[in-house]
Symmetry: C2
Subunit: 228 residues, 2 copies
DNA sequence: ACAAAAGTGTTCAAGCTACACCCATGT
DNA sequence: ACATGGGTGTAGCTTGAACACTTTTGT
């Protein structure tokens, strides 16, 4: 016999995006203000329902694109949240995703959503289980950032060593020794020093680096492991 | 205005369980033979639909209990699989879970499901995207096993150092040096040596150890990190 | 006595941590 | 000239990897 699916329950399934950015000093999170009930006016993650003709990945990209206009964003699936009463008005499951975006590129945030960047150290309490989602996302970001070169998604194409160190300090919420950090990065041998200097932070100026993705992929294929 | 959910699409959502066991030598996976179309007769993961009154965790526990009769099994959510055509007959999303069970305890497998333990190194090709789920689960198991003492879920209460080493060798698919392995384990200081010896494997007999969970929790609270 | 698995330490290399001074430049 | 951030090297320590022989006991 063939399975008959008609009597199995069907569920609303949403995606919610934890959108991380970096302003050169602190990790940021992009939140939206609900413009519908319940919890209208409160802060939440950007989300949306998964349609019949899209995967959850596609839904997450669509949601992110709707908010920011950006395409090809770094996006990784996190967890499913399926508590029955996680939303008060209906049983809605949610699959969370975290996104890393270069905050400088992100020029046109759709005003319709009243979105705002908050400091990850100091953002308002969120609706439903969104706080839990953010906590889980931060933990995942830390794990990933220590074994994959995803940090560069958060930086502009060219950045100083100081920027990079600030980024990792923000991700891990921990201070590093400048000399040790730089020699670790140099030992990885996946950055290229460009001609240019950033003159805004000091009189001397500091060299700008680029992540050499091709080199990284090549080393990866040869058994190299990224490790911070 | 309050959000009206009635026009959003609703989805069938299943859980699928990757059930790991250990027979003292090799990692095993428990598979079931489909007794309905499509793909009747082929091997698959044990799964089931999520009901209206249960979370995905509860559904996974239910599914596992239906198959094995066991309760309180170690179960961890993995990923969501949402490709539209991942099953041919309907659009079904699936949340995967992996389970660790002590194979000795597992006496009464429900015969209705034609379940069978396979060697993880040599099991049949599975239906749909279940092979991918297993691959993802193995990777997650390795990660978790290297930072959390979950290996003990797969062993009987008392075990020899050799058992433990065999287990980790099976998980990581890699050979370890006996001396280095034992001194690493001893350095962790979370096992207790019992009076008893296992006399089945040698004339001399080898001491049996127990995982001291209370001690582990205490050390954890003091900042200890498990690491293999 | 011998076969078979259990049990046990040391050495070396690599990587990590801690730590302080000079350099270049704009004002 | 001085104030500001940029840039650089070393020594001690910890950790992980490689490596071989003795012990116990049933047959």
């Amino acid at each position: 016999m063939t399975q008959d699916y008609s009597h199995f329950p069907r569920h609303l399934v949403a995606v919610d995006c934890i959108i991380f950015g970096f302003d050169g000093e602190n990790l940021k999170i992009l939140l939206v203000q609900r413009n519908f009930e319940p919890k209208m006016g409160e802060w939440s993650l950007m989300g949306g329902f998964i349609g019949n003709e899209e995967t959850s990945d596609e839904a997450a990209h669509r949601v992110l694109n709707t908010l920011t206009g950006l395409e090809n964003i770094y996006l990784e699936q996190l967890n499913s949240y399926t508590r029955i009463d996680r939303e008060p008005t209906a049983r809605i499951m949610s699959i969370s995703y975290y996104a890393l975006i270069n905050i400088e590129k992100n020029i046109q945030i759709n005003e319709k959503y009243s979105a705002k960047w908050f400091d990850l150290q100091d953002f308002p309490s969120l609706i439903f289980d969104h706080n839990e989602m953010v906590e889980d996302a931060v933990l995942r970001l830390r794990r990933r950032a220590s074994t994959r070169p995803i940090g560069f998604e958060l930086l502009p194409e060219k950045f100083t060593m100081k920027d990079l160190q600030n980024l990792y300090e923000a991700i891990f919420n921990e201070q590093f020794d400048k000399r040790n950090f730089i020699s670790k990065i140099n030992a990885l041998d996946i950055l290229v020093k460009t001609e240019g200097k950033d003159m805004t932070s000091s009189k001397k100026g500091s060299f700008l680096y680029r992540f050499d993705e091709a080199k990284y992929e090549k080393k990866l294929a040869e058994g190299f492991m990224f490790k911070i």
